[in-house]
Symmetry: C2
DNA sequence: CATGGTGTACTAAGGCGTTAGTACACCATG
DNA sequence: CATGGTGTACTAACGCCTTAGTACACCATG
């Protein structure tokens, strides 16, 4: 489905939340489609079920996922889209972290852009492979 | 000198380490030049001296900073440069995080590149202002 | 020599993330 | 109705990060 990076300082529940949002915006997960159960995804990612549950609950509160009690969790029929303010904030923060990391190891803008394109291609390719 | 982002999941000592490496590679801090004392930088960043000390010690172990006991800490005469393997690893990881964040909020490559350029410009501008 | 600033070391406490284990209410299925 | 899978909730424990406080050895300065 997607990968978790244990060495990433970002919390695992946040990586799961981001990964699911990514698959939804890319169309890999479509409205009404079911997502893996808490226990299944936890086993798949080699992570504790509580951590997955935390991500699912946050996405449900945000209106991205919909829970049918006793049955399972599904992508909402009309998944909530982040507004412009939140989107630009997330993007600027992430860009600052990337630029800082690049400059700290002596990498210029052009090379940073090239590597960024490769990362984009890889993630979109995962999308095309349906998982 | 540089900024610390308390909401960044990355440890503060790592942000300090990265910030100093960035200023050195940009030339804002030149070989032989002195860096602020542990207590001064801690007061400046509103952070505990222990946290700054941790970053200084790691940079000293890496050969980027040189400590003169009882006197202060300085940029090494020939600061160690990260090798290609480490550089590409850091860059790829950071690029993956940025690409993932962008796609999770529905941002395409072109917009992500534009925002990245802005971040680069901002950091380099800080460099030109000598701090 | 006395003072003050330097890096360094140590302990104690609190917060957050993660894991582990257990338990419950819910619902589809047979 | 019994079973099994679903999300959810709770406690306990561990580790890492951070803060706070104290203390030490070192050295430049006056």
């Amino acid at each position: 489905m997607f990968d978790i990076n244990p060495s990433d300082p970002a919390p695992i529940w946040k990586q799961i939340e981001e990964g699911l949002r990514r698959l939804i915006t890319l169309g890999t997960l479509q409205p009404g489609e079911s997502v893996p159960s808490v226990r299944d995804l936890a086993r798949d990612l080699r992570v504790n079920p509580n951590t997955v549950a935390r991500a699912y609950q946050r996405l449900s509160d945000a209106g991205v996922l919909a829970v049918r009690r006793g049955e399972g969790t599904y992508v909402a029929d009309e998944p909530t889209r982040p507004n412009r303010a939140h989107r630009t904030e997330v993007l600027r923060d992430a860009a600052n972290r990337y630029a800082s990391a690049a400059l700290s190891v002596g990498v210029q803008l052009d090379e940073a852009v090239a590597v960024l394109e490769a990362s984009f291609d890889k993630l979109v390719a995962v999308h095309r492979r349906k998982g």
